[in-house]
Amino acid sequence: MHIKSDVAISDSGFVFVPATGESFTVNPIGAAIIHMLKENKSVEEVSKQIFENYKTDMATVEKDMNDFVAMLKQYSLIDTND
């Protein structure tokens, strides 16, 4: 699973898609996830990283990651060739 290569994300969490002109905001944890996915890390690797960095449990991370990835798909930010 990869974030589309033309999706740009700023350090402050502003996401811009040049192809469509759409823009999004993400919170810091959302930005961290997108950055990691852009680095070609798998969802499992990202989840593990989040669990290690934040005060939470793995079940919560998995549930929220599923939801977040579904939203990325809904907004067509995921490369469909995956």
Binding site: S23, T25, T60, M71, Y75
Partner: protein
Amino acid sequence: MEKQRYERPLIKKLESSMPNKFGTRTEYVPMTHIDDVAVKDLIDKYESPLFVISEKTIRGNIRKARKAFENRYPKVQFAWSYKTNYLDAVCRTFHQEGSWAEVVSGFEFDKALNNKVDGSKIIFNGPDKTEEDIRKAIQHNALIHIDHLDELYSIQELATKAKKKARVAIRVNMDTGIYPMWDRFGFNYENGQAWDALNKIMRSEVMILEGLHTHIGTFMLSPNAYAVAAGKLADLAISIRDKYQHEVKYIDMGGGFASKNNLKGAYMPGADMNPTIDEFAEAITSTLINSNFKPDKLPLLILETGRALIDDAAHLLGTVISNKRLSDGRRTTIIDIGVNILFTSFWYDHKITPAQPFTQYTEDTVVYGPLCMNIDVIRDNVNLPLLNKGDHVVIQSVGAYNMTQWMQFITLRPRIVMIDTERKVHVIREKENLNQLLEFEHIPDHLKDFNL
């Protein structure tokens, strides 16, 4: 390295100038404490959900309301509307502040007596007074506000039998320019019903006409409607004085003043738009003072204000059960507060505030209760900070009607605590348990056993 505080990841599409039903963000600071008592401590000790009533706010509200009227009018009496919230601790707080009792059933009448309110300071309203209720009211010298002619004839008969005079008033309904007109209660002013009833009372030897009563509606947003109503009651009182040389002792303007809650469908927040108690006081008192009452014969002004005095004195604490997403992508949050204990969520867009710190990120959210029923919606659309499972929320301004109209449905009713003016927490109603409910039930013998 210490782990950071977790917040669920959020992505939000930016849609400038696209209006939606969720509106803009309303929550900027968490509500971690109520009257300096930590919400977390309250939930840890008394469980979730939990109603929390602030004695300090109740006393502040009634004192402010009294001041608003007493600064403008010489004789003012408040009567606590039992149906709005008849928890004994709440009623007694109002009674300590000088309020009489206003009741609308035999059960509420007994509750007022049980609260040691003298019968002569109980106002008995409502369309359903049984013969037993009327006998009791006459016996205790209560003020009976007659709703219809059948009741008037019953009082006539029962007072005659009891050889005791009944202290009565009539409830008058009228056109005050607002819609809907509440003409189902009492006698109509415009078509002469009220005058007809007054003539009957004045000719009776067993009824004493003590006052005139009206209650023009609920959650009224127009102080001017009260001015119209006060003018019409003043006209009736002066007509009685002129015809019978009888001075009515009081004019009871009922209740119905809006609280600061947000009515569903309203564009602006209730806290900014709804009239203040001073505006209602000004409308009523200036009309009475400018009427044809002689200055030394002004009647006592009775107010039965309920909602405006208790709504913001109570909070409902709850806990997030789960976050989900609907098929159309909308975020939903399920909390442990259902419409069975928050009846007013059908009328209001209640303010929901997280009880723990949050970031500036928000999400358009539908807030559901825990009931397995489709109607269990606490907020159809609200822009909320990101909540995690187990987080606590505070629903504000829930003091009116919820603790009387709540029902045991699917879940049992929770505890209610009151924080006193010294910040001490008292349980004023215990949570329900299964055995209490089973006490009402009987199982026929042939249904006692079965094999599955």
